[in-house]
Each structure stands twice: as structure tokens, then as C-alpha cells.
Symmetry: C2
Subunit: 327 residues, 2 copies
């Protein structure tokens, strides 16, 4: 069944099943905001063949990933999600089933975090385009910014980097995984298809750290990009120790060092948080959150340097040019 | 200069000039919400050659119209705008100048209502796509819904209908305007290019009407569509008097009756409000707001009937099928 066959009203009827009935049905969605809360808003656009493709991404995974990317932005700000709006541009000959499965994936990810699809727009377009705007709330003093990193702060990552990029490679070129076990392959592929926004970190930070000392962002565009963005916004530099960055265990036997560094620093879409805070708090986070690690220190010299303790490779100075550029 | 030439970072630098510096620069935008306010969210997607085209729409007008459509949705809910996010899908060879002019148009419309561009996303896409999400706030008891129209309510429109559609026709086929004066033509064309969201109506409603008695929506998809949507949501019908609908003066000499009815009822994009409320309040609105008129009454018989007092045409029963369908 094509979208063209059932028209806008028919498609709307199907998609409204995914939305709370008391919120939808008017010109806009209404959410009660509580006193002393900040509204946090973020938006992402995904385009068929640019950001997802049928080869690597089922419609459910495309939906999950689109939502996860937005929720990750909220997590990076210290905000709890309220809901999302979905703007869909669709060619007339797209299967209705594809759209429904996309919404299933979005709903699945949202449900995990008690967030809702509260509205959207459906239009005809020559290429499938998914625009998601997510909004959340936070106490104003709990918001995490990227421009407040201080010299001497420890740099913490909340999990492994490079896994999502490796998973994508296995989907695009299955032959590169010929010496990996099925479990190893599926772990990496799942990291790519079903990334987890780290909203679980927020209550832990709130409990054990002085929030006003925490800065950071998520690593959606790569670990290197996140560190560089934080440093640029805070007018500081960083010294990263390569050996301290958590990477998938299998990288050590499977990839040569250059490839491992490439995936880990520039791969992107791991959707972990990169946080800067005083060492004492950082070590408490490492204790409380499995997989978390201190990977370096904020410095005053404005460069971001990756140092290899094994001294097999010279120090690398990271630059934004190597990150993902959209054009 | 093509977008490809300056890349994402270059384009971002240009577009950030349109955003408040203390709100942008992180993973998401933060807005302080006040106590006892509801958050109202709406979203629209516009696609090149589907929703706008170079023939009829300059980039400034495309930007203005995209923002106006979203602000009109907020007005229809009784909400004051806070800001918007903009998701842009752009081909690499689009002129940077086009994008900047688009933002100029968006900013111009937002400034009129003290709203801001608080964030966005820029991605590569084979076709230009503009996704706007607007959010506003309202006291929960002041929100206007479309499902609460009551039998006996007067139906009010806040201005003329058909002008935008006529303006589009003049842009597409200038020859149809050969017997119109330059002022007449420009008035209709401006109605199409620079529609005004009726946020100016909200304080007046608040002042002179019991808000809990008001239902309604905007007429973005046409006057017929608005009345039908309200009636369907409220499980009522309506009797509309054709002679009472404000239309551009020039329609009477310029268009035959069938054409005038077509433009007025189904033209769309006039972005007026269609409100249902008790007659006493309706007449007070008409007194206070120039151009406003009572055009009919909510009935119990579930049909929407347009009656012509001149009896030159028989009563028409409106249906949704004739409205704008996206697929």
C-alpha cells in the first residue's frame, strides 16, 4: 500500500495511534510546564541516503536512531524529555508499512524514557526526510553547557567510542568481519542500530556531583568533535590519553592502530556524554557508572592533544576539519 | 557562493547571526518557562516546488510564510510565541545568499511578535526542505481548542478569505489580472506573500470574551477545511451564510461566482482565525476587530451547509475531499 493510495487523512489516522489522544488533534500540542523549569529544545533532520539507507537501516532502526539522537542532545543538556514533534517529507510511492515501522521504532525509543510524540506534519517530498524536534525540561541550575569547562577539569566519557562506526562498517562491508565472532559482530551492529541516549546518567550526576561544576556535550558527531567543541566554546585546550579511552575490546585484535584511532575519535554516533568536571567528582562518576572513564584533562594551551603512552605514535593535535561535515 | 563552498561551519556562522547568542551554541535551546504556563508546540515542513517555488516566492517571502504558518497555529491555540527551531535540508549547490535571505524573511516575521530562532539543524538534501517547529505558551485556561464548539455558537472569521489564493493565481498567471488596477493586484499578491498570523486577536479575546466559551482554529488549509475540522472534532454541524463571508471587494467584479466561492472556501493560506462562541461575545469581537464578521451558526445536524441568500445557487454541503491533500 502506497501513501498515495490512502492519502494524508488515511496516513494521519494510522500515525495518530502513536500519539497521546488528549495532546493531538489541534493546531499545536500543549504540555503543562511546571514552575522553575527551563524548556530545552533541540532539532534534527535526517534525509534518506544521506543519514540512513535501506542497506544499513530498517525503518524501525531509522526511527529509533532519529529519536535517540534528539534525546541524546537533551541528555547532553541535563534535561529530561517531554516529547517530540515529527515532520515527515514523503514521496507518494513510499510504502505505508515503512512509515508505520518508522513510527514503531520512534515510539519504542520514546517509551523507554516516558516521552511522547505530541504532533507533527506530513508533506509530499521527492525524498524521505525526517525532521524531529525534541523538548525537555530541567531546573535552570542543572543545565549542562559546553562553554564552562575549566583548566584542570577531568574529561569523562560515559562509555566506549568507535563501536557505532565499526557496526556501520560491518553492515556496509560484511566481509571485513570475517574473523569476528557472531556475538562480536552483533554487539557492534547493535551499537550502530540502537544507540542509547544517556539520560540514565542525569539522576546520578544530580545525586553525587555539584552540577554547577559540570560542562559537556554528547559525542554524536564523534569524540574528537565533542572535545574540540567544548574546548572552543570554553576557550581552553585538552590533553587526552589514548590508552584511557574506552574502546570495544575487539578493536585490539581486529583493527590496526590507525583504524582504531579513526573509528574511536572520528567515528561518531556513539551518543555518549563527554563531561568536564573537577577530578574528585569525576572519580565518583567513574565509581558509580560502569563503563565510564577519565580520559584526560582540560589545559590552558588551547590545543587538543592526544597522547599515546606506548609512545608508538607521536602526539596528535585534533582539528575540526576531520569531523563529519554535512556539505 | 554555493553552500558547498563554505561548508556547514561557514553557513552556521552566517545563520547564527539570526539567533540570540545566549540561547544557541549548545546541544539544545533553553527557555525559561514561567509558572502556570502551558507549552504549546507546532511544526510544519515546506518542500521546494511543493510548497513554494521561485516563480511565486522570493526566499524572504518563503521564510516569512513558513514562520507565519507556524505562528498562526500558535495564535489558533491562544498561545504567545516564544521561539522556533529551523531544520534545513539543502542541496550543496544552493546559493548561500538564498539561505541568508530565507533567514531574513523568517527573522522579519518573528521580530514583529518578539519571537526568536533558538536553534536548528543543517543537513545536505537533494531538495530544499524547511522544517519549522514553533513553541509558545499560554495560561492553561486560555487555550483555544477545536473540539469544544457548541450548538448555537456564532461562527466568526477574523478577516477576508480567498485573497491569498487569488494572489497566487496572479503570480502564476499574471494575464488573469489584466483588468485589475495595480493596487488591487498588489493587495492580493501581498496577502499571499506576507500573510499575517492573527496573534493580535489574542489580547482582545482575553479582554472582552469569556475564553472558556471560545473554540476554533486557523484557516491555513482553507475556510471550508477549518469549519469542517471544528465540526468534526466537536461532533456538530454548521450553517454558513455565503453573503456574510468577508471577501476581497474586487472578487465581485473580477470573478464569476463559482470562482469566488472556490477561492474563498477552498483557497487556503489566509491564516485568519475561525472562532466559535456565543453570539453576544461574537458581536463584541466584531465591534472591536475591524474586518471580523459573524458568518454562521453551529448546528446539531452534523453537516456543514453554505446557504446563499440571493438563492441564485442551491445550498452547498461542504466536504473535506475538496481541501488541500498533501499526497
Amino acid at each position: 500500500m502506497k501513501v498515495r493510495d490512502i492519502g494524508e487523512q488515511g496516513l494521519l489516522k494510522i500515525l495518530q495511534r502513536f500519539c497521546p489522544p488528549d495532546v493531538i488533534g489541534d493546531d499545536a500540542a500543549v504540555l503543562i510546564t511546571e514552575p522553575d523549569k527551563s524548556l530545552v529544545v533541540t532539532t534534527d533532520v535526517l534525509v534518506d541516503k544521506v543519514h540512513f539507507s535501506e542497506i544499513t537501516t530498517s525503518p524501525e532502526d531509522a526511527g529509533w536512531r532519529a529519536v535517540a539522537a534528539n534525546l541524546s542532545d537533551l541528555a547532553a543538556m541535563g534535561a529530561s524529555p517531554l516529547g517530540i514533534t515529527v515532520g515527515l517529507g514523503l514521496p507518494g510511492d513510499i510504502e505505508v508499512d515503512w512509515v508505520e515501522r518508522l513510527y514503531c521504532g520512534m515510539s519504542e525509543c520514546l517509551q523507554k524514557y516516558s516521552a511522547l510524540i505530541v504532533g507533527g506534519d506530513l508533506v509530499r517530498a521527492p525524498v524521505t526526510t525526517i525532521s524531529i524536534t525534541a523538548f525537555g525540561q530541567a531546573h535552570p541550575q542543572n543545565i549542562i553547557r559546553r562553554h564552562t569547562a575549566s583548566v584542570g577539569d577531568a574529561i569523562v566519557v560515559t562509555g566506549v567510542h568507535g563501536a557505532s562506526r565499526a557496526g556501520l562498517e560491518l553492515l556496509l562491508h560484511p566481509e571485513v568481519g570475517q574473523y569476528l565472532s557472531e556475538v562480536e559482530k552483533q554487539t557492534l551492529i547493535k551499537a550502530h542500530q540502537r544507540p542509547q541516549p544517556r539520560l540514565d546518567i542525569l539522576p546520578i550526576i544530580e545525586k553525587i556531583v555539584n552540577k554547577s561544576t559540570v560542562s559537556g556535550m554528547d559525542s554524536s558527531d564523534g569524540l574528537a568533535d565533542a572535545i574540540l567543541q567544548i574546548c572552543r566554546a570554553s576557550n581552553v585546550g585538552a590533553l587526552i590519553e589514548w590508552q584511557k579511552i574506552p574502546i570495544p575490546q575487539v578493536f585490539k585484535s581486529w583493527l590496526d592502530k590507525a583504524q582504531a584511532i579513526e573509528y574511536t575519535l572520528y567515528g561518531g554516533e556513539d551518543f555518549e556524554l563527554v563531561l568536564c568536571l573537577p577530578l574528585y567528582g569525576a572519580l565518583r562518576l567513574v565509581q558509580e557508572i560502569p563503563g565510564t572513564a577519565v580520559i584526560g584533562t582540560i589545559t590552558s594551551n588551547l590545543q587538543v592533544v592526544v597522547h599515546d603512552n606506548s609512545e608508538k605514535i607521536p602526539d596528535q593535535v585534533l582539528t575540526l576539519d576531520r569531523g563529519f561535515q554535512h556539505f
